[in-house]
């Protein structure tokens, strides 16, 4: 290990230090509302992005650093920048929300930064030990964020359920890792990959280990049957936190999933493919069907997020290069659409409290035509209707799945996308065709918050831009591929 090894690690070091500064600066700054400290945190995220461009990119091909614990490659850079964008947008949206609820912003922003640090390690880990520690850092920060509104029972309940189930899933993951270590004698992803490629493994313990790791990862991406925490945690969490956890941790969980299964365990693909096929199909069916009857928008979006994890799992089942970059692409697309949709839920206020019911959106088109149009874009995107990015994302996933010969999985996902139209459009119908309850003296109001408005606008522009002109993002997602085979 030489000092030069630390240069590509500078973005992570900076991010960690920024977290400490935001945490301590948040105490004096927090007395003037959460905006100054959130501005500081967003500036730190932007500086981290700049650092990644300057020193955090691979010079030529994947590069192992710091005792082979981390790998610097395009794949990691893709997810790191996605995490930075998602957390910056979520933080900007959170500012007004925290002020209205009168919770301090210092701990909130620093926990987001620490979660980002954990996710950076998850995205670039080349060793099961560093991957696991990164995962725990992310998870622990997120548990605290979910329960951040500690005077609200729902927030407590969501945090407790998420924490208990999350801890159990971590134990399962760790047990799987220990079995893999026991059978291959290594924690290093590359060593494990080579071992598996050389020896055709029928070892029951190894397969059990891989299966347990798959279960742990399925929990983190909220796939059926490991989804039970999702609706309660998403509904109970403060809405900006819901927006954040439905996007960034899910994306890096897929990054880790891909690195492990499309990379390290690729030699055992015949053993785990069926497992993921079933999980993908069950997730798409359950998520979409359960979303049909929800009356709370956050809960509906929680089930929709389960369904989207099912779509993305198709790319893993395909197991091809096309499937892999389709997952990268889909995670980026889904991030902007979902953040935007949650942005409007954050801004909608009903009777002095968050407007979370579907009826709260009634008549929105008449009162706030701009907001209704924005929400329409995100609903179209989530449903996968052209010309939005959601359509392009699904198109690539379908193409990869069909190409790999999994026609039935693609058929299920097309059918389920059709089902999803119902619940996404229920919201659209409320906005455009319902007048709202005439006797309701205080209909839900869209608050004007310039920060959150700007963040939502960014999401809307991205949703449309990627839909109309996907080539740059596709090219970038493809550039991440070379990494997997090599590391």
């Amino acid at each position: 290990m030489s000092l030069a090894d630390f240069v590509p690690f500078l973005p992570e070091i900076f991010l960690g230090c920024a977290g400490f500064i935001v945490l301590l600066a948040g105490i004096p700054l927090g007395r003037r509302g959460s905006r100054p400290v959130i501005a500081l945190a967003v500036a730190a995220l932007a500086a981290t992005a700049v650092l990644i461009f300057l020193v955090g990119r691979p010079a030529a091909g994947p590069q192992l650093i710091l005792g082979d614990m981390l790998v610097v490659d395009q794949f990691a850079v893709f997810f790191k920048l996605l995490v930075l964008a998602a957390s910056a947008l979520a933080l900007v949206m959170a500012a007004g929300y925290l002020d209205r609820a009168q919770y301090s912003g210092g701990e909130f922003a620093s926990l987001i930064l620490f979660a980002d640090l954990g996710m950076f390690i998850m995205a670039s880990g080349a060793n099961l030990a560093s991957l696991y520690v990164g995962l725990e850092l992310m998870a622990l920060s997120v548990y605290v964020l979910v329960g951040y509104f500690k005077l609200e029972v729902k927030s407590n309940e969501g945090a407790v359920k998420y924490f208990v189930l999350g801890a159990a899933s971590s134990a399962i993951l760790l047990y799987g890792i220990s079995l893999i270590y026991g059978t291959t004698g290594s924690l290093d992803l590359e060593t494990i990959r080579v071992t598996l490629a050389e020896v055709p493994h029928q070892n029951f313990l190894l397969l059990l280990g891989i299966a347990l790791v798959a279960f742990g990862m399925l929990f983190k991406v909220a796939a059926v049957p490991f989804h039970v925490w999702t609706p309660d945690a998403y509904e109970g969490a403060p809405t900006p936190v819901t927006a954040f956890i439905s996007v960034a941790p899910k994306a890096v969980a897929f990054a880790m999933f891909l690195r492990l299964f499309a990379g390290t365990f690729a030699g055992e693909v015949e053993h785990w493919r069926m497992l993921l096929w079933i999980a993908s199909a069950a997730t798409m069916i359950y998520g979409n069907v359960a979303a049909l009857t929800q009356i709370n928008v956050k809960r509906m979006l929680a089930y929709s997020s389960i369904a989207h994890a099912g779509y993305a799992l198709m790319g893993l089942v395909a197991g091809s290069d096309a499937g892999t970059w389709a997952v990268l692409m889909y995670m980026a697309v889904y991030a902007f659409m979902n953040l935007g949709a949650f942005g409007f839920v954050i801004l909608l206020e009903s009777r002095g409290y968050a407007g979370e019911r579907i009826e709260d959106f009634a008549g929105l088109a008449r009162r706030h035509p701009g907001a209704a149009a924005g929400m329409l874009i995100f609903m179209l995107g989530l449903a996968g209707i052209p010309p939005t990015a959601g359509f392009m994302g699904k198109l690539y996933l379908w193409a990869a799945t069909v190409e790999a010969g999994y026609i039935w999985l693609a058929v299920i996902s097309v059918l389920m996308s059709a089902v999803s139209l119902y619940y996404y459009f229920r919201l659209v119908v409320q906005m455009y065709l319902k007048e709202g309850d005439a006797e309701d003296e205080s209909p839900a109001e869209m608050l004007s918050d310039r920060w959150a408005g700007a963040a939502i606008a960014v999401c809307a522009v991205m949703t449309l831009a990627i839909g109309l002109w996907p080539a740059p993002l596709v090219g970038w997602a493809k550039s991440g591929l070379s990494a997997l085979g090599l590391v």
């Binding site: 509302g33 959460s34 209205r100 301090s104 701990e107 620490f114 520690v133 313990l205």
Partner: protein
């Protein structure tokens, strides 16, 4: 007598294993939560002894210091915080969960049994020793772990420090009395 001397480690192992399981059963059957917690403490100490038997001295120390010390203090504090006097199994939601717990327990037991049986069948007995060499030189287990942990595993080690920091922030966020509501003069500029 020869039998005792030759198989000393095995006999010790089975004694410790029986005591460990007995401690675990004690956690379930004691009515008083404090007694259950102390029974758990006994289990932790026995597990520490098992680690010593495997020559994993550092893990034994961790087991006593962190579990027997820290975690147990936390358990007792929580028992006193919520002021539970007896663990009443007749509570409705607990008895509804009992069949599920049995299923989960049996599944886990089968899983571990499979892992043990297949582990022995496929790879035979391990040599039963913990890490104790670095660069060919034989040193103590603790020193060997130190030599690896602070060089190769530098990144996970430093990240663990951040994990501990987040745990601290979490405890303060949830545990502080007046809550996060310290913004002077109510909401911000929204």
């Amino acid at each position: 007598m020869d039998f005792l001397v030759v198989n000393f480690a095995e006999i010790l192992f089975y004694c410790l294993a029986v005591l460990t399981v007995a401690g675990g059963i004690g956690v379930l059957v004691f009515k008083s939560p404090v007694h259950a917690a102390l029974s758990l403490l006994f289990t932790f100490v026995m597990v520490a002894a098992l680690f010593l038997l495997l020559h994993a001295e550092l893990l034994g120390a961790v087991q006593v210091l962190v579990y027997g010390g820290g975690i147990m203090v936390l358990f007792l504090f929580v028992i006193m915080l919520v002021n539970v006097k007896t663990l009443a199994p007749e509570q409705a939601f607990l008895s509804r969960l009992a069949p599920l717990a049995v299923v989960a327990g049996v599944l886990l037991g089968v899983l571990i049994a499979f892992a043990l049986i297949f582990g022995v069948l496929v790879s035979g007995h391990g040599d039963g020793t913990a890490l104790r060499t670095v660069g060919g030189a034989e040193i103590g287990n603790t020193e060997a772990i130190g030599a690896v942990l602070y060089t190769t595993y530098l990144v996970p080690f430093e990240i663990v420090s951040v994990v501990l920091l987040v745990a601290m922030i979490g405890a303060i966020v949830f545990g502080r009395r007046s809550a996060g509501l310290e913004i002077e003069g109510g909401g911000g500029e929204s």
